[in-house]
Symmetry: C2
Subunit: 325 residues, 2 copies
């Protein structure tokens, strides 16, 4: 907490030095303690200049997913109010689930620089090398029934895809139910898990994995990173993971608020605005059968409606869907 | 395990004595060890007679919910294969949920003589004084989607109600979704909880609480016990909790098997055979509104269909339903 206090004083005085004396007064601690905390911040990656007679100045901020960085100027009020970050964790979803079972409130967020057992849908692996992606899980406590869970899943896809578009300028699109794609390559995956009674959800954990600068050689076939997609388009900006994570939380809160106030319809509308899938020919893989058809619509439950060649409309609420080119 | 071995030898020789020498040979242990295990069994409540020159004889078996009693001649193959029993536990559902998270297999059962924080639907309390009820939770790993969870809930109600009818002779009935009632008084409650991804269930915990001999003064309004209902009808049998718990597990396995092989329809049929609710006037209490109507049917999803006075059919998938007399 004191680290954060000192850091924020330096941030507020970004263009000038803050004398040791001033820092002591503002943070209400001793000179020796200041030095200790500055050292700790430096270890975390902050560049802090110390000039005799002038004092301290913040030179550079590291792009790391720690609470003080995420919380700084975060516009979300509930999402990210409580943040726990790990250098390395098995799975942020597992950590969040455990925390939720202990009673963690809505909007609590778990972040990690690296996951050793990152998971995707159906127990698949999610490649999570250090410092190259966003591995983030949010705890929600929505007043919904278990069969309304697609509301959260589709909402998460909208929030993440909008945030990626804003921060990177890439024209990312959603593939049903909740993959963020660009030209058929996957940039982000979402894993929704819940604890529920038969007719009411206790809590939901939404896990979000974004490939920010994950090297192509580490990624499975069909996946890509924001960095590679930008490079492919000749854009030379480096994507700040911190900024993107913040924007995702803000967007999530915005649409979660809409869901609570206006229901699922505006979420479906926003989802449809962000997909190129409707009208396309798709292949659906279910545990016990496969079929092809035209992706026709999203129904009010969040299921994908596929029109078979026979004209029959088939409702898809689970399984894998690929657009056939 | 050795206790159980010795116990089973004595059970197989119920009408005669087994000499110490024979017991040593059959259980493959020393004479001193036999004595130690017999003492342990006596502490658990087994009456074992020891007569010089004749040997040991099992006189009486306690009605306690321990693995060796439940497993003895249990006809279920999967349900109850693994049993953990507690003298006292917070909640058998919590214990089972934790066990399931650690990977416990389908059919694992948690039993307790007493629950200090027994739970019902919507976080309500389930009164669980020592040795007066069955407090039991089963772990299932069905291949279903979260919205198919009513399949398990309704199935559990069928299994429990059938078992209660068989063991006690009481004409118990089901109230939607899964209460076992007699003349409007509640005898048993079921709490289904699950961990799930958006479109597949990881595991389900079905908690079953039966008021066997729970004193009326401890029970909330509208609840009753098997003992009191039998007494009310002038029947003087004592209900064996062990026998009832076993029968519930056997019935559960029987109908779970049917669900797997033939789907939900035969379960709904069995459910309908055990209810007097369809056709009756009911009051439905939802979080945001209440209404009355006639309980009309159970739809293929397991929801209760209520016909309003306007003739409109309303689908009820959650909330409380009371039959109005």
């Amino acid at each position: 907490m004191l680290d954060e206090k000192i850091l924020n004083i330096l941030r507020h005085n970004k263009d000038s030095h803050v004398s040791g004396e001033e820092l002591c007064k503002l943070a209400d601690i001793s000179r020796a303690a200041i030095w200790k905390h500055v050292e700790k911040l430096r270890e975390e990656g902050y560049e802090i200049e110390a000039t005799p007679h002038l004092g301290y100045k913040l030179i550079a901020i590291p792009d790391i997913l720690i609470p003080s960085e995420i919380k700084w100027k975060l516009k979300a009020k509930i999402f990210g109010k409580e943040i726990i970050s790990y250098k390395k964790v098995d799975s942020t979803n597992d950590a969040a689930y455990e925390l939720a079972e202990k009673g963690a409130g809505e909007g609590a967020v778990i972040l990690a620089e690296e996951q050793t057992k990152g998971r995707g849908r159906y127990g698949r692996r999610w490649i999570s090398p250090p410092k190259s992606g966003i591995y983030m899980s949010c705890i929600l406590r929505p007043h919904i029934a278990p069969n309304e869970i697609p509301r959260i899943t589709l909402l998460a896809a909208v929030a993440v895809t909008k945030a990626i578009r804003e921060i990177t300028g890439l024209e990312a699109l959603i593939k049903w139910p909740n993959d963020t794609m660009i030209e058929g390559r996957k940039l982000c995956g979402i894993l929704t898990e819940m604890k529920a009674e038969q007719d009411s959800v206790d809590f939901v954990v939404v896990g979000i994995g974004v490939n920010v600068s994950t090297p192509a050689k580490n990624l499975p076939k069909g996946a890509s990173s924001l960095k590679d997609e930008l490079r492919r388009r000749g854009v030379k900006i480096a994507v700040s993971r911190t900024e993107l994570a913040k924007r995702i939380l803000e967007m999530f809160e915005e649409y979660y608020d809409i869901l609570g106030k206006k229901g699922f319809e505006p979420i479906i509308d926003a989802w449809k605005d962000l997909t190129a899938m409707l009208g396309a020919r798709v292949k659906v893989t279910l545990p016990n059968r496969n079929f092809e058809g035209q992706a026709h619509d999203i129904n009010p439950d969040g299921a994908l409606v596929v029109r078979l060649d026979s004209g029959v409309l088939e409702k898809v609420s689970s399984g894998d869907v690929v657009v056939i080119r």
